[in-house]
């Protein structure tokens, strides 16, 4: 799933079509499409190469995980957009 998000983002930032990325990377367009859909996941090595073909590097670094906001994001995901805006306006009121 993360590879799907990153490949699509790198391709769009590079302004490439899937066909153009296929030509650059030597991969089939259909393979790139399946990766972007998350239907299959590339190996880590293939992921790094496809990101590089878009003109980017994906630095890999181990950092301590901070999951302090995860629960709030989960709650937010279940709120309506209207409720999210109301929460923003309420939070502004409290922060002033």
């Amino acid at each position: 799933m993360w590879s799907a998000i990153l490949i699509r983002e790198a391709r769009l930032r590079a302004g490439l079509s899937q066909q153009e990325l296929a030509a650059r990377s030597g991969r089939e367009r259909s393979v790139i499409a399946r990766w972007e859909q998350g239907a299959v996941a590339p190996s880590l090595e293939a992921l790094l190469k496809i990101i590089q073909a878009c003109g980017f590097d994906l630095p890999l670094e181990l950092v301590a995980r901070d999951d302090s906001t995860d629960e709030q994001l989960r709650k937010n995901a279940r709120l309506s957009p209207e409720r999210r805006v109301q929460r923003l306006l309420q939070a502004r009121g409290k922060s002033g």
Partner: protein, 170 residues
């Protein structure tokens, strides 16, 4: 206690909708609408830069009594807007930033509108809001270290959308 800047997103978006401006909401307000936990005092938009739409945007800005923060006159036409990275405006309803082509996008509006969705934010408004993926793409393209926590939150929201998609109606 410091004065809080005014912010009425409904007034800003109502003015844009009333003049039938074609735009996509981006930036912090869009991230909040998509589920991020942030505080903002303004709205950022990417307008279609077609001539007639820029005229409608100009009228909406007049309705809002919006002025540029640099005190320059507001000139919105296809030729001049291409030279602007963004227009920063202040109005009694809050701050409004007009960004013709945000970092990480190609051709701004036409790029973002494909994945943007109409989000019901209340008061009968359903503005077009950039997708979580596009919001992450734009934030990542800015390359600012200070934005990293926001980017991580967007990535987690992307993961939640994929995992909970049917449950969230997406």
């Amino acid at each position: 206690m410091a004065d809080r800047p005014p912010f009425d997103p409904y007034a800003i978006l109502t003015a844009l909708e009333r003049r039938r401006v074609s735009y996509v909401v981006i930036g912090a307000f869009a991230r909040v609408v998509q589920g991020a936990e942030e505080i903002t005092h303004g709205i950022d938009i990417v307008p279609s830069i077609r001539g007639e739409n820029l005229r409608r945007l100009e009228l909406a800005l007049e309705d809002l009594d919006a002025v540029r923060v640099d005190a320059e006159p507001v000139v919105l036409d296809e030729a001049t807007i291409r030279d602007e990275s963004w227009l920063e405006l202040r109005s009694p309803a809050g701050e409004l930033k007009v960004v013709p082509e945000p970092a990480g996008t190609r051709a701004g509006y036409d790029d973002l509108r494909r994945a943007a969705t109409r989000e019901p934010i209340g008061k009968g408004l359903r503005p077009s809001v950039a997708s979580t993926a596009d919001l992450a793409r734009m934030l990542a393209a800015l390359g600012r270290e200070a934005d990293l926590p926001k980017l991580i939150a967007l990535r987690r929201l992307q993961g939640l959308e994929r995992a909970l998609g049917p449950e969230l109606g997406r």
